[in-house]
Symmetry: none
Subunit: 199 residues, 4 copies
């Protein structure tokens, strides 16, 4: 009887699951995503390779989930952006923080790994959206909606588009290393965006 079909999750070992994700996370940090192997994850987690193959379809999926797990625990349930009533100040705060995060090497490595996976795997891209990017975007849109109601943003602005204009340039600069992620750049993006969507 091969292990190939329909493992029955009720019997799944929580201990193993956790050890695998933790090992994956640690190895990405230590040797870089490209050099992480399933064998190394299994060895580090004290787990048989089959236990990985039983529950995940690919290295990408393990790595993906290990990073998701990493990102989700701390913020737990609720994500909310600061709301002082001043949309410009609030956005600049958030954008500067985002820029700083991207510049932090400890943060970079796993996110680049994750991005590599997402670029080449539509399934993971969908999961990424649903589980990580989506909730975050909702939180941002909630803050923007408040700004609309306060008359600081055009009432008919497409909030998805606003977010695209606000974040994409920063993201692209980071991904392609096409320029420095300075606070000034963050501020400039906020200024441009508010100018484009002012009431």
């Amino acid at each position: 009887m091969s292990d190939a079909r329909k493992p029955y999750p009720a019997r799944r070992s929580e201990r193993s699951r956790h050890a695998i994700l933790e090992a994956a996370r640690a190895l990405i940090g230590e040797v870089g995503y490209g050099k992480v192997s399933i064998e190394a994850i299994a060895a580090r987690a004290g787990v048989g390779k089959q236990t990985i193959y039983r529950w995940w379809p690919s290295k990408g999926a393990v790595v993906f989930e290990s990073i998701l797990a990493l990102s989700q625990d701390p913020q737990s349930e609720e994500i909310a952006l600061p709301d002082t009533g001043d949309i410009e100040a609030d956005l600049k705060l958030v954008m500067r923080a985002t820029a700083a995060e991207f510049a932090d090497p400890a943060f970079e490595a796993p996110i680049r790994a994750l991005t590599s996976e997402i670029v080449n795997d539509p399934d993971l891209a969908a999961q990424y959206h649903e589980r990580l990017a989506g909730p975050l975007e909702e939180a941002k849109k909630a803050r923007l909606r408040a700004a609309q109601e306060a008359g600081q943003l055009a009432a008919d602005a497409d909030l998805d588009l606003v977010l695209d204009v606000l974040y994409s340039p920063l993201h692209r600069r980071w991904l392609y290393r096409s320029g420095p992620l300075t606070p000034e750049y963050a501020d400039a993006l906020v200024d441009v965006t508010l100018r484009a969507f002012r009431p």
Copy 2:
């Protein structure tokens, strides 16, 4: 690398060089970037493996160059954007074309491959900038400068920032598959950008 103290380019076989790049390009299209191997490239090109290792440091470099070669040949020397005098119409034309290009599967595969490499290798990112993205950006900035002179764009606008705002959202949508690349979206980006940077 034993053989490779100083590969002396004068003796390099142009026939082999070309066959290798061509084989790489073909294989990316057939099996996808992740599954292309040096051995397969060598076999397909009718070349010894050492001939590849002698001239390129990694699979990424071969693939990268094969795609660069692909992109450069047709447009040869000069790249220029249309200039009808109407910046809005011209940009919409270009942006719609870009969106269509991204949506074309034959175009997608190699560019995603290239992007995978760039994300994880700063050297390749630099080369990409210098040899592909840079010249293109210059052409775009030339057109924007003409618009500034025609009073259609703020004279003090940072043209790099303008390009970021214009292209990044489209690019990001494509890379993360986070939304459809419609002509309407292309138009909306042009509208937003012109609104943000109007004189």
Copy 3:
């Protein structure tokens, strides 16, 4: 072996025991001894692996017992060789039958499997002797004793030796495939043996 401190045979499921031996026998015929696995036996028998491990120490033991069971059932209790009074005729009959049996592919596979086990496991060799070979030899020796009493065989002949000389060459030829198992060869062995041990 956790479960197996003292498997308490009183509660043993006869249904399972039989299904396991039957499954083992069937699989040997279908895929060959070398490719039979405990997992396959368990699956085919509709039995948990532990149920096999609880009652048998190794794959060899299961296979061995399944073949023993196969050989014993039909002949049940009593085995006796033909006795027409003519030892030469009787032996030739038996030897030709034995040669034919060995040449039958359906018979071969399990016996070769059994032999593989026996060669490398002295315990199984002993069991084989006690449960299969021994009784058969007794029957043969009974017939030879009758021949001695009839003055057709030297009275002081060592009957074990007689059997060795009679059967071993045939057996070896089969095992090593070192020659054809013809009726003529069977006859020749009887002739040689009777000549060597004539009164």
Copy 4:
């Protein structure tokens, strides 16, 4: 390019070939045939697994050749049995030596391993015949022919049959552990054989 097809023996590494056979031989002695793995042979020989798979089709073939190599080197070219003119004395000498050899544990292990392989693989059986058993049998038959010419053996005796009767019982007793391999037993077999085939 996979390694799968037609390795070209001219480039074969003699160093590796020898190390592999030597490692196989050593491991059989240390852990027993059943527990020898290709991986262990490769590791012990300081060789990649593929180098084994490139030149041998199976574990059995490697083990087989390692034992053949072992048996062939010392006796090199010519094998000849003693010939004092007294066939009985000569045969008893040889048979007692054979019995002693079988009883030696250092000799036993590899020969049992070899036998296991031969039983289940007709190809190996054929090779065994051609490269080991055949030449030996020729030497024995040469001695028996001399005895025929000296009038110590029936002139019309089938020498293959003589060898069968002489050796098979000893061999079988060893293989099945069905009795002790004493010098007396060896002598008895010579006596029986000579009686059966006396002129």
